[in-house]
Amino acid sequence: MRSSVIATVVSCALVLAACGSGGGAGEDEVNGDGKVVLDVAMDAGLEQAAVDAFDTRVAQFEKAHPDVDVRPREYTWTAATFTSQLAGGTIPDVFTVPFTDGRGLIERGQIADVSTLVAKLPYAKSFNPNVAKAGQATDGKQWAVPIAAYAQALHYNRTLFTQAGLDPDDPPSTWDEVRSAARQITARTGQAGYAQMTTDNTGGWVLATVDYSYGGRLETLKGDKATATIDTPELAKVLADVRSMRWDDNSMGANFLYDWAGINQDFAAGRIGMYVSGGGNYGNLVTQNALKPQDYGVTVLPLAGDRDAGVLGGGTLAVVSPKTGEKTRAAAVQWIDFFYMGKLTDSDAAVLNAKTQADSGQPVGTPDLPVLDRATWDAQQKWIAQYVNVPVDQLKPYTSRMFDQPLLPEPPKSTQDVYKILDNVVQTVLTDQNADIPTLLADAQSQAQALLDRG
């Protein structure tokens, strides 16, 4: 019986996890040659060229650190699998998590405290302060290293724009224009003009993004006390627009249960005209979803006139498993420095990385925001300029204006849980024509507040 199998697997995972649980440092794994074994995260489902590029980087690291044996392991963060991997001890020694989880993982002791090692890195004091916070404990120690930062963006399919009679070099700059463009795409191509993620907490994530662009917020923080601000005119307006696009215009396609991977797949396959996601999504679309580069367009998120309007930011932290030993932790920070940070801080490393990526046909030059100071970011852009192989002109609607938009952090408390509550709200609006938006928001507000009160 399949459900029994699942129950058994879950139980086994829990038991095996319990066997291996413990808060302190674990033991180092050493191979037959006396080298410290370091399991490092490699994106799951990469094309062979990307795997080859990764292996080349591993070889370069091992040459520079002959006492470390690096073993790549497939890993991609998803809310549903991350916690079981972490609890079950099957997570790599070095892995990545989104900004949203940094503080919570630190508070719960679920990642290793490598702040002493991080503090010794030459650029430790140069982190963009807003970005660094996501990986700091309450005492300011840097347990997790920010390796990438992004702002949400509006991705669009240039081919569908052209087929629909829209100008791909002049993408929508207001939500009203997004709506009319979506209508036109659906009418002329039969594809979804605009689609939205709704499952695995991504529904709340995108809803928060659009809410922020109207000047709304999901939470307000006074000291350590968080208050949910979900039942607001801004979010009601966002949902009313979504409802109009779905039920009046019928321009949102036929799938209302998209997660991050699913929407990327359908966008790359040319079934979606526009959608909202992280500004650096191009890499995933190309390496894991076979997007045709000529189809791709991206622009900044439309912001309403409200002075509080801003663009939701996010990013990625590199962290170390709490089950590692001291030597492994040292090697882990060396790997973070080499693999994730070197390309941002050191001209030789940046060039080597860009060349390796370019030689294997991987995208170089996908848009991102500064993890360190702006001067370092500008320098890094110059170092890799000759290897940039992404369609730079097609990214210009985004890259030319991404620094002009106010960047806002994600809701500070119980972020993923609040997003999950909003998944249900957006799903209801998209699948029930008679959905009562005020009641949905009132319910979500009380659920989120109860969650925040529990802490």
Binding site: M1, R2, S3, S4, I6, A7, T8, V10, S11, C12, L14, V15, A17, A18, S21, G22, G23, W77, A79, A80, T81, F82, T83, S84, L86, A87, G88, V97, T100, D101, G104, L105, R108, G109, Q110, T198, T199, D200, N201, G253, A254, N255, F256, L257, D259, P322, Q416, D417, K420, D423, N424, Q427, T428, L430, T431, D432
Partner: protein, 320 residues
């Protein structure tokens, strides 16, 4: 040659007194093959204990703990059970699970039986028909779900909607609507599981004495009367067991809602097992394993009580 005739033992009505049982010491046990029995049994006991009973015991312990499985666990008494009962989603999940079970019973229970009876009546190529009916069972469940996702595409060009469109119906919303999502899951689940049940019915049908059918035919019984008066009474035991197995299986439905809809739209397909999974794994900061195991134990207890009551009530219906 004189033949000595031994008196035949006379069977008396009196029950002979039972000889006092000899106490078996370790030596007797050893000589009687006890050690070899234990040696052969030990691997099974260890594997069964570790992989079957170990998780169950661990679940009981975790249900009274607050733990993220990384830091030290904390004893919280019955707080997890109280939190589970206070969760409004629990009742949604129970309602959805009962709805799935009912639909699966209406659709999934009779279909394998009807298919088995029809195939058993076929004179030629019975094996081929049985193999074709069983085919969905050998398709890996995840592959089947991905396949059915194409079928359930709610656009006008989805597979099912194209078929509906050909007869002037649809397009239907299938998984994209709260009302039709659960029946859609049941449709796929029935397709996926019916073959397995049908094979069991076919085996049981093979054991029905053919002379009963011959006698019925001589008496002029129609096909329907043969099924009603011969087939079904002879399958009664199997039908009763398959019924309880189906109820237990549907109460634990997980794969279909997890892979098709993630519990949506708007919690319309959130089942009890999916809720357990969500407690344990949906929060990326370390799930609520205590609540997950508490609800697991509650589900196990409900199913155990249901099974006991069912077998007690249906004992008199059984032929054995």
């Amino acid at each position: 040659m004189a033949v000595k005739i031994l008196p035949r033992p006379v069977r008396t009505a009196a029950v002979p007194a039972r000889a006092p049982r000899r106490r078996r010491g370790p030596g007797t046990w050893l000589r009687g093959g006890g050690l070899s029995t234990l040696v052969f049994l030990l691997p099974l006991l260890l594997v069964f204990g570790f992989f079957s009973w170990g998780p169950i015991i661990q679940s009981v312990v975790m249900s009274v703990q607050e733990t993220n499985l990384v830091t030290a666990a904390k004893f919280v008494g019955f707080d997890n059970f109280i939190a589970v009962f206070a969760d409004p989603l629990l009742w949604t999940a129970v309602r959805n699970t009962l709805w799935f079970a009912l639909l699966a019973l209406l659709l999934g229970y009779p279909i394998p039986l009807v298919a088995a009876v029809l195939i058993s009546e076929v004179r030629k190529r019975r094996g081929l028909f049985a193999a074709l009916a069983y085919l969905p069972v050998v398709i890996p469940p995840v592959v089947a779900v991905l396949l059915w996702k194409f079928f359930f595409d709610a656009g006008p060009h989805g597979v099912f909607n194209t078929i509906l469109g050909a007869v002037g119906l649809g397009p239907a919303q299938w998984l994209q609507d709260a009302d039709s999502a659960m029946p859609s899951l049941v449709l796929e689940a029935t397709w996926a599981a019916a073959g397995g049940t049908m094979i069991i019915y076919l085996a049981a049908l093979a054991a029905v004495p053919p002379e009963l059918y011959e006698a019925a035919e001589i008496d002029g019984a129609s096909v329907w009367r043969k099924v009603w008066h011969v087939t079904l009474p002879n399958l009664r035991n199997v039908l009763l067991v398959m019924f309880i197995l189906q109820i237990i299986g549907t109460a634990q439905v997980f794969l279909e809602p997890f892979l098709f809809t993630g519990g949506g739209p708007a919690h319309a397909t959130t089942t009890v097992l999916l809720l357990i999974y969500d407690y344990a794994f949906a929060d990326s900061l370390g799930g609520d394993y205590g609540k997950a195991t508490a609800l697991s134990l509650l589900l196990a207890a409900v199913l155990a009580v249901f099974s006991a009551v069912y077998f007690r009530v249906t004992r008199s219906w059984s032929t054995s």
